[in-house]
Symmetry: C2
Subunit: 242 residues, 2 copies
DNA sequence: ACCTGAACACCGTTCAAGT
DNA sequence: ACCTGAACACCGTTCAAGT
């Protein structure tokens, strides 16, 4: 408690501001007080700093939003890693995909603002791409065609978050060199995109036909419900003969 | 072009402001310039009026957002009516539901801001309730249980917009007298909610178990994809014996 | 290199005032 | 009854300035 300690305190009153620290604080703030409470001024307060200091480490608020989405997908990756390698035989693909999606959901439930941010600003982080790539890999191992995988990603992905939209719908054509670059860290996904883009080069809507994807997912649901309806009816008429 | 005409012009330079006119203009503005461009000041400009004038007809911006969602569901109802009465026999329920959902989607594609507004503010208009009620009616005619219908609504509804969430998840218990009141204009839906709430009164999460609903929808999709995978495999091994 | 303060152009909204 | 103008408390961001 001598003057030296006090001096040290005033000369290093807090850990230095970094991109990481800003993003962590932003994610925590949104978790605790909601997305609307995540303002530059409130965030600065949380960090014991003036609002404008943040701009030295991140260019603007959009960068912060992209950053916290990135953090969230890093958590999802950690969750998946904790579950161990989810490779499976042909029949087991479904359980493996299911586990990954429910894992992602567990993380997203801890960050309720994340789905909102993800699909109102079509953010697109490497961690997100790798997450999708893992799912593509599992499906590919089961022998599915890239086409079926592609439709299935739309059907499933729309359910959890809109990531597939970004991956394809927006950029009319495949982004120039981006696909080659993706090959290094998301090989399954890159292979799928290459084939899908090649197969249907003159789709009126560009890369993916939104309407087709929507109907594919809808029909999956309707067929499943119909099967359950028939099961109910059978149950009702003769539960004995089972 | 005499002085009289000019006088008439200046004494009645525009049609009077009404709730209807404000909401129409708001919807049009959002269609044209996007949701972010829908500000009180820009909306007033569009109407040839000062920003504060709007507050005489609607209490605040949230009321405007609720109002434009209401308008959108009115359009969806008109679209459904144009398709004629979509009553069907047991096996035809699926086509009837499909038609209604694709109709809703056509309208929502004209108002891309609508899904965003609907699920970031959990708005809840009578027109929306009636839309859901129509779907419940069709499913009920096919002999499905209320339980199956309930799960199915979650699975399908999440896909188009989050309306079922509002209907149930939020209010822990059924809203006091609201259910009785609903009976008059949404009888099928009211019946379903009454039975579902009764059947599972001590659900840990309140009315609906979100996790259960999520897994129901996910499994529907996974099962459907698995069937298509098997079809692909069969096609590959012996396309001749079909 | 890292942080700050004042200022700008926006927002939704309150409130007292006009006709 | 219907509309307005000034003002308030916010927002993200620019810019020149401090250390």
């Amino acid at each position: 408690m001598g003057p030296k300690a006090a001096e040290t305190r005033t000369s290093a009153p807090r850990t230095p501001l970094t991109r990481e620290r800003v993003l962590r604080a932003a994610s925590d703030l949104a978790d605790r007080d909601g997305l609307d409470a995540l303002t530059m001024r409130a965030l600065a307060d949380e960090l014991g700093v003036e609002a404008m200091s943040i701009y030295y480490h991140l260019p603007n608020k959009n960068a912060i939003l992209d950053g916290v989405v990135e953090l969230t997908f890093a958590e999802i990756a950690a969750e998946a890693a904790a579950q161990g390698p989810a490779r499976a035989d042909a029949a087991g693909w479904s359980a493996a995909v299911r586990a990954r999606i429910l894992g992602a959901r567990r993380v997203l439930l801890r960050h309720p603002w994340a789905p909102v941010v993800i699909d109102q600003r079509k953010s697109f982080s490497p961690a997100m791409v790798r997450h999708v790539d893992g799912i593509v890999g599992v499906m590919r191992d089961s022998g599915m065609s890239h086409d079926l995988i592609h439709h299935s990603l739309h059907a499933i992905g729309n359910r959890v978050y809109g990531y597939v939209q970004e991956l394809s719908d927006d950029g009319q054509a495949p982004p120039p060199g981006q696909l080659e670059q993706m090959q290094s860290f998301a090989p399954h996904l890159a292979a799928m995109l290459a084939e899908v883009a090649h197969v249907d080069p003159e789709s009126t809507l560009g890369w993916c036909d939104d309407q087709t994807e929507f109907e594919f997912g809808l029909d999956l649901l309707l067929e499943g419900i119909e099967r359950r309806r028939l099961a109910e009816a059978a149950e009702r008429s003769g539960p004995a003969d089972r």
